[in-house]
């Protein structure tokens, strides 16, 4: 048993006593009832379980939750899909997903949202050239499997959010 104190979407949870065997996925879905994060393959292949982990230095990355222990997140700060909308207002990426009809059954969508959000934040810090944009998006989203859509509209949605704010995300003049 270990103690877990974790910040989720800006809100502190715990300290709770959790078993060392408990995955973060189970902690979110079963203990906290936050079922926006899904459980897909349980083998870090599909990334429908991915959440955003925020480092102290301001960088973020997505992490699967199905193969990592909840205890290893003690003291960390994560964001789940439930935390994207602020006061009921959807984020730019969420709006783009809806308008582009990017998802169908929705099971992979939380993962794609988290990954897309991390990509946007990373590009805001380190923009890329317009010519590299499509490859950058493919590399970022490639870990996520979607069975329904064929990925096209997910990629278009992310790309359009980036192009709509090109000054922030792309290297000017390239």
């Amino acid at each position: 048993m270990t103690t877990l104190a974790i910040k989720i979407n800006g809100r502190a949870h715990g300290p709770t006593d959790v078993s060392d065997d408990l995955t973060l996925n189970d902690f979110l879905r079963e203990y906290l009832g936050m079922t926006g994060t899904k459980f897909g393959c349980g083998a870090a292949q599909c990334l429908s379980c991915a959440v955003i982990v925020d480092n102290a230095d301001g960088t973020s990355f997505t992490s699967p939750t199905c193969v990592v222990s909840a205890a290893s997140f003690n003291g960390k700060s994560i964001r789940t899909v439930e935390g994207h909308a602020k006061d009921g207002k959807l984020s730019a990426l969420q709006t783009a997903f809806i308008e582009k009809f990017a998802f169908q059954c929705g099971y992979c969508t939380a993962g794609f949202l988290n990954e897309g959000q991390v990509l946007l934040e990373r590009l805001a810090k380190k923009p890329v050239a317009r010519g590299d944009l499509e490859t950058t998006i493919v590399e970022a989203l490639d870990g996520h499997i979607c069975r329904c859509t064929g990925y096209v509209k997910y990629h278009e949605a992310v790309r359009d959010v980036i192009l709509a704010d090109a000054k922030r995300y792309l290297i000017a003049g390239l």
């Binding site: 193969v67 990592v68 222990s69 290893s72």
Partner: protein, 185 residues
């Protein structure tokens, strides 16, 4: 080459083989068993004993699950059958993965059995120079290393088998328990 350094080399190599359980003589060892350190004592010349150690060591280093993370290309393999690693991760700039898929995100500091994911604080691809899963067979790569060893590079043995922590990959993955893994220098 001082005798002190030579002693250190032999000690470190012996320490490696010390971790094994069988008592078979060198010539009788099967592919999945390693010779005990004592069985090398019959080789008097230190240089030849080093070579014999290294050849025996080769059995460990050409094991599929070691070779999996020593690719010549950019993608690791996984499993005893050495299939391509899924999800399709790649070397990245520093051997630790792409920005969106760092090795350490899934492979954390220790094995996590409920997720069947092995872990170690130093989880990443070996540099391309250590590509044992190479264009030619791994065995011939080792034979050429042995030639280097006896010529001028005896120090190379100890440099590649430097301080290591025992690494066991978890349940269902037999054969690599308690074998020291070369840590990154």
């Amino acid at each position: 080459m001082t005798s002190e350094l030579r002693r250190q080399i032999l000690v470190s190599v012996a320490a490696l083989t010390m971790s094994v359980l069988t008592n078979d003589a060198i010539s009788d060892t099967a592919a999945d068993k390693l010779a005990s350190p004592e069985s090398f004592a019959s080789i008097a010349a230190p240089e030849q004993r080093s070579v014999a150690y290294f050849v025996e060591l080769g059995k460990v280093l050409t094991h599929p699950r070691c070779v999996n993370c020593h690719p010549a290309g950019d993608r690791p393999h996984q499993g005893d059958e050495s299939r391509l690693h899924q999800p399709p991760v790649t070397r990245g700039v520093d051997g630790h993965g792409l920005a969106a898929m760092r090795c350490s995100i899934c492979h954390q500091g220790a094995n996590f059995d409920p997720g069947r994911v092995p872990g170690h604080p130093e989880w990443h691809l070996a540099p391309r120079e250590m590509a044992w899963r190479a264009k030619r067979s791994a065995r011939s790569a080792f034979r050429s290393r042995i030639a280097n060893v006896t010529a001028a590079g005896r120090w190379r043995i100890s440099s590649t088998i430097s301080a290591a922590t025992p690494w066991s990959a978890g349940p269902g993955r037999p054969g690599l328990a308690a074998i020291p893994h070369p840590a990154r220098r």
